[in-house]
């Protein structure tokens, strides 16, 4: 089948050191030709442009810039000195801070890649300086970003709500318990890793030290608060929240005199390059989605499901597996547009709540940012941590134990997703 050829080409090209964007492009071009679309290769540049013009991804550059600016003006140190004073004496203290920071930022964006590239720049720098292995810092940064779409605001959940014709408010509420479940699972696993491996550990800070770091960190700690306040008060939309944060950080850098023309340009250059890379990868992968759609691949696959499984739980497992596999090649929104509408009739016939299904789907899809070969999170984090992708992959793999466990729990126990919306909005 074309998909197998595509996969083999992609991996082979990567192995001989073809750059990732070109490897996707060549594999897709090959697949188009093999499927009889040799005369329609304009699909590739057209889809790259379409992805670049996708306004739901406009949040990315601003959040990434905010992260890079925080590093540039030295706010990172202030925040993490404070965090370190609080939790540094625990094993895996900063790894836990990494997870908690993502939970907080999830209230500011629904884009996991913005979390990785923006917050990640801050987290990885801090963790390296405290003696954590860069590959480990990169791994926990990638997997912690998975909570981003589960706490509102969340464009991914809005898109699902429209596709599945369910209440957005209900969908938002349904994501909250799973978000904390994911964060909790990651933190427990961090603790477990810390006891097995020798993680850096610092002496317990005195109350005086904590207070001192809180004071110097106060100005820096306001940045996340500004993002939240901007959104909650209706001052900014979710994608503009990053703008406000950037402006505040620039102002601080200017007041403290820590901002120089050189550091500013370094931050914007880094932001521009990483955003460009993210969007070009998404763009090339976008043409893959077109090929799958026009060939009706998802429909064909979905048609075989009812013959294979007879229980709701197994149907969900098959869905998860399918999404994880497809998620290795194409990006999340495309998967959702392709698969959700096709699966909904089956979802209804198995008696699965569409909101519950949405959470399971979202979790399966978002895991795709961390799964090779096309886990976009892996490539971003490899760039900002300056660690080879394969090392990041090696460090990410253990985290699939807690993440898979959460995914199976979410599939098997609808109450985890539905309890909060049922409680606050009444059961459906």
């Amino acid at each position: 089948m074309v998909a197998v050829g595509l996969f083999a080409t992609f991996v082979l090209l990567l192995a001989i050191r073809v750059p990732i964007t070109a490897a996707i492009g060549v594999a897709v071009a090959g697949a188009l030709i093999a499927s009889g679309f040799a005369g329609n290769l304009w699909i590739i540049p057209m889809k790259v442009l379409e992805a670049a013009g996708n306004s739901s991804l406009l949040a990315i550059p601003f959040f990434v810039l905010a992260g890079n600016l925080m590093n540039a003006v030295g706010m990172t140190e202030r925040i993490f000195n404070f965090a370190n004073a609080l939790v540094g004496h625990f094993r895996a203290g900063l790894a836990q801070v990494n997870v908690l920071a993502s939970v907080m930022l999830a209230g500011g964006t629904g884009a996991a890649v913005a979390d990785i590239a923006g917050l990640g720049a801050v987290e990885i720098k801090a963790m390296r300086e405290r003696g954590y292995k860069p590959a480990f810092a990169a791994a926990i940064t990638t997997v912690s970003a998975i909570v981003a779409p589960f706490i509102p605001p969340s464009v991914p959940l809005v898109v699902y709500s429209f596709l599945a014709n369910v209440s957005v408010a209900r969908m938002f509420l349904a994501g909250i318990v799973p978000a904390f479940l994911i964060a909790g699972a990651l933190m427990v696993f961090n603790r477990f890793l810390a006891t097995r491996q020798d993680f850096p550990r610092e002496p317990r800070a005195s109350l005086g030290e904590i207070w001192r770091h809180a004071l110097t960190g106060a100005a820096a700690l306001i940045a996340p608060a500004i993002i939240m306040a901007g959104i909650l008060t209706g001052t900014t939309t979710a994608s503009e929240a990053g703008v406000l944060a950037c402006a505040y950080i620039l102002l601080l850098g200017f007041l403290f005199g820590t901002l120089t023309w050189g550091t500013l340009i370094k931050a914007t250059t880094e932001t521009m390059l990483i955003t460009s890379m993210i969007m070009i990868i998404i763009g090339f992968a976008n043409s893959m989605g077109w090929l799958l759609a026009i060939e009706q691949v998802p429909q064909t696959l979905a048609a075989t499901i009812p013959d294979l499984v007879d229980s709701a739980f197994f149907f969900l497992l098959v869905t998860i597996l399918g999404m994880l596999i497809i998620g290795c090649f194409i990006d999340g929104v495309t998967i959702k547009l392709l698969l959700v509408p096709i699966l909904l009739p089956l979802v209804d016939s198995y008696g699965i709540d569409r909101v519950h299904f949405g959470i399971v789907v979202q979790m399966s899809i978002i895991l795709g940012i961390a799964t090779p070969p096309l886990g976009i999170g892996l490539y971003i984090v490899s760039r900002i941590a300056a660690v080879p992708v394969e090392e990041v992959v090696r460090s990410v793999i253990p985290y699939f134990i807690p993440l898979t466990a959460v995914l199976v729990l979410l599939a098997g126990f609808p109450q985890i997703s539905l309890w909060l919306p049922d409680l606050l909005m009444g059961p459906r």
Binding site: E50, S55, V155, T236, T237, I294, Q296, P341, L344
Partner: protein, 309 residues
């Protein structure tokens, strides 16, 4: 021969069902000479990407609002001029005028895209409403109202002229922006209010009939013209039948949807449009003086109004 029809609605929405019905009816009428494969949910791409594919021939039919054709002939934006047409019949007569026919011919020459059937026959909506956080019943209520619009110069000029505070946002951000008050209102065909869930954060739905909406079945002209006359006639027959059924179906679906939303506490209002139409007349006159309207546009609107009915 298999044709591809792309659209952006969910397959089980009112429009999605109408499109599928048209596809099925074509296969039936042409006795399988043409089968139409439907691709819902923007699976093959968004507006511009689909229109370009329509030109290149990987997509054969794309049902959407006529104003999308302004890509090639900018005058087409005026087929959805706000608060200008008296009613759907007036608009239908305008759309059948020589002026609009001429625009369509230019589109076919320039872009190789033709419109199958009468675009006013296939109903969208069936009418336009505003979903808003506070009740709006008169022109005064529009003053200073923070209204979300898609980037569209004519609509922006119109609503600003009516006194609204126009803001442009990506549609994916509309729900939350309504919730947080960055915008207070959004315009939509009634059919999309329930699926988009805007009413959850803005519980008033105001019918204002901003402009009548239809669906133009844009087709690749080369593919269409390559069909023999008989087949084309069969397709048009299928179109007319489905269009005739769609009007009632769309209205039914809207009424059912309204009943469901009422149970959720949504209120329904009617905007007093007479003063709105009057105020808009000034803008259109002004635009004509500035040479911003197509030659003969207002005249054609007036002529098609005066036809006895």
């Amino acid at each position: 021969e298999t044709w591809r029809m792309a659209h952006k609605m969910p397959a089980d929405s009112v429009e999605g069902r109408v499109f599928q019905a048209f596809a099925d009816r074509i296969a039936e009428k042409t006795d399988g000479a043409i089968t139409v494969q439907v691709y819902p949910n923007e699976q093959l791409g968004k507006d511009d990407a689909i229109l370009e594919q329509l030109q290149m021939g990987t997509v054969h039919i794309y049902p959407e609002g006529s104003s999308y054709l302004q890509k090639w002939v900018p005058e087409m934006q005026f087929v959805s001029a706000p608060f200008l047409f008296d009613d759907r019949e007036h608009w239908a007569r305008f759309m059948a005028s020589d002026l609009v026919k001429d625009w369509h011919e230019r589109i076919e020459t320039e872009a190789g895209i033709t419109v199958i059937g009468d675009p006013t026959a296939m109903v969208r909506g069936p009418y336009r409403v505003m979903v808003v956080k506070k009740p709006v019943a008169s022109l005064e209520d529009i003053q200073g109202l923070k209204l979300r619009l898609h980037p569209d110069e004519l609509a922006a000029a119109a609503w600003r002229h009516l006194g609204a505070e126009v803001r442009t946002l990506a549609w994916t951000e509309v729900y939350e922006s309504l919730g947080r008050g960055i915008v207070e209102a959004v315009n939509s065909p009634i059919a999309l209010v329930e699926p988009m869930r805007f009413y959850e954060v803005a519980p008033h739905v105001v019918r204002h009939d901003e402009y009548p909406q239809g669906l133009a079945f844009m087709a690749n002209a080369a593919a269409w013209n390559a069909l023999d006359e008989e087949t084309r006639a069969q397709v048009l027959e299928a179109y007319d039948e489905v269009a005739a059924e769609s009007a009632a179906e769309t209205l039914n679906a809207a009424n059912e949807s309204i009943e469901r939303m009422k149970k959720e506490g949504v209120t329904f209002l009617q905007l007093d449009t007479a003063p709105v139409v009057e105020r808009m007349q000034q803008l259109y006159e002004q635009m004509r003086e500035n040479g911003e309207l197509p030659e003969g546009f207002l005249e054609t609107v007036a002529e098609t109004r005066q036809i006895d009915g």
